[in-house]
Symmetry: C2
Subunit: 269 residues, 2 copies
Amino acid sequence: MSARYVHGYEATEAIRLQDQAQTLEHLLHADTVYPVGDTVLEAGCGVGAQTLPLARNSPGAHVTAVDVSATSLAEAERRVREAGHGHVTFRQADILALPFAPASFDHVFACFVLEHLPRPREALAALGRVLKPGGTITVIEGDHGSALIHPRSDAAEAAIGAQVALQRMAGGDALVGRQLFPLLGAAGFVGVQVSPRLVYVDASRPALVDGFIRRTFTAMIAGVRAQAIRAGIIEAEVFDAGIRALLRTAEADGVFCYTFFKATARRAA
Amino acid sequence: MSARYVHGYEATEAIRLQDQAQTLEHLLHADTVYPVGDTVLEAGCGVGAQTLPLARNSPGAHVTAVDVSATSLAEAERRVREAGHGHVTFRQADILALPFAPASFDHVFACFVLEHLPRPREALAALGRVLKPGGTITVIEGDHGSALIHPRSDAAEAAIGAQVALQRMAGGDALVGRQLFPLLGAAGFVGVQVSPRLVYVDASRPALVDGFIRRTFTAMIAGVRAQAIRAGIIEAEVFDAGIRALLRTAEADGVFCYTFFKATARRAA
């Protein structure tokens, strides 16, 4: 997986290059490249948002994408076929009851999946069982506690907190990113390495102002408005003020930061 | 300043190398290297903690370090002389009343200074005036709002909040890191670029567990205990529980994240 890593550059040259990442996809996916012929299980592919870059970056690998929802899976398959990728197979499956023999895959990949699961450690352990000895797992998760904005806003914090509370009520955890190191260790993996990916946005990075502040993060929070108000977690006026405060960070003097956590580990050989 | 930057590598190779930074000094200072013969003003050198790496990384530059405190300045000079650096001159001065002619310096460097100042924008504007047209400014600040820990702890948040409140009472701002982009713009600089530097610590990085969690961050928070309790900001038991929770992140399953912000900009030519 790390065949494209090159040793010996200055750490700081690299930082500058991280600073240049203009899309979230590049920041999260670009260093996941599976060798030709290897088998990859994508666990929890949803509607295929992460399956597309995964398939694009590893054109020679054999990807099996599973999801518990048949509807999502059909949409993922439609998108991946439309993009012309023939090396992805789709199968409906629950991560805790995978229809694969032990040691079936060279690699497992899961992006934005643990945040939805009530038992992330058990899910990781189940994924470990279908991995060949020495095989790798890659996990990517966000962490809403990492959101940092200027100008600061209590209402924005409350709106983000409403999403965190809703996800907890649904059995998930929007603060799971920071926990990848202990979770993978507890699930029996070895060689756990966590690489945080900080998205920093100000007016000097217009692609991210629109693509990340407006269309990714704020849109995601705004999407839980009705549910959060109905659940009595937050008042409508506070929520709406929070959304306005998040959008305010997209102005010329605003700043928005968010950290994703990308972890890799191996099943013991 | 950016002579050592090299274009064209994959962003992700760089991320891995950032992941490898084993000391805070390397993460913050390594890409600040001033050319031979250039003049550099270090604004607010304190006891010289940042003057030492600055002098080390730019052995051919002429550094003038100023601080408002004669006592701190004497200690900085002692340390820098002891390290054998002959290219640093020390002078007592207030940033808002600098004893230098306009356009005196090729570069200005200020690390962990704005956080203490009641008027950071005015301070930056004053630093801009002693900079030659086209000269560069480099500013590094932390932001306590970026601290992210596992296991989570309300007491740890309260202890960190006590330090933020004390700093505000003293006229400073422990959340200034996120504001560097708008502050430098408002102070008249051009070409503002912010590069966040995230320190991620888990048990796989033992040097940072000790060097950053215990000896840097927790020690800094613990240092305000008496003052915070005396000021009535926090109860002793909560503060002490917060310190224990911060130290808890140094155990085998703990995680600690903190983000520094490093900005560079130019005085218009």
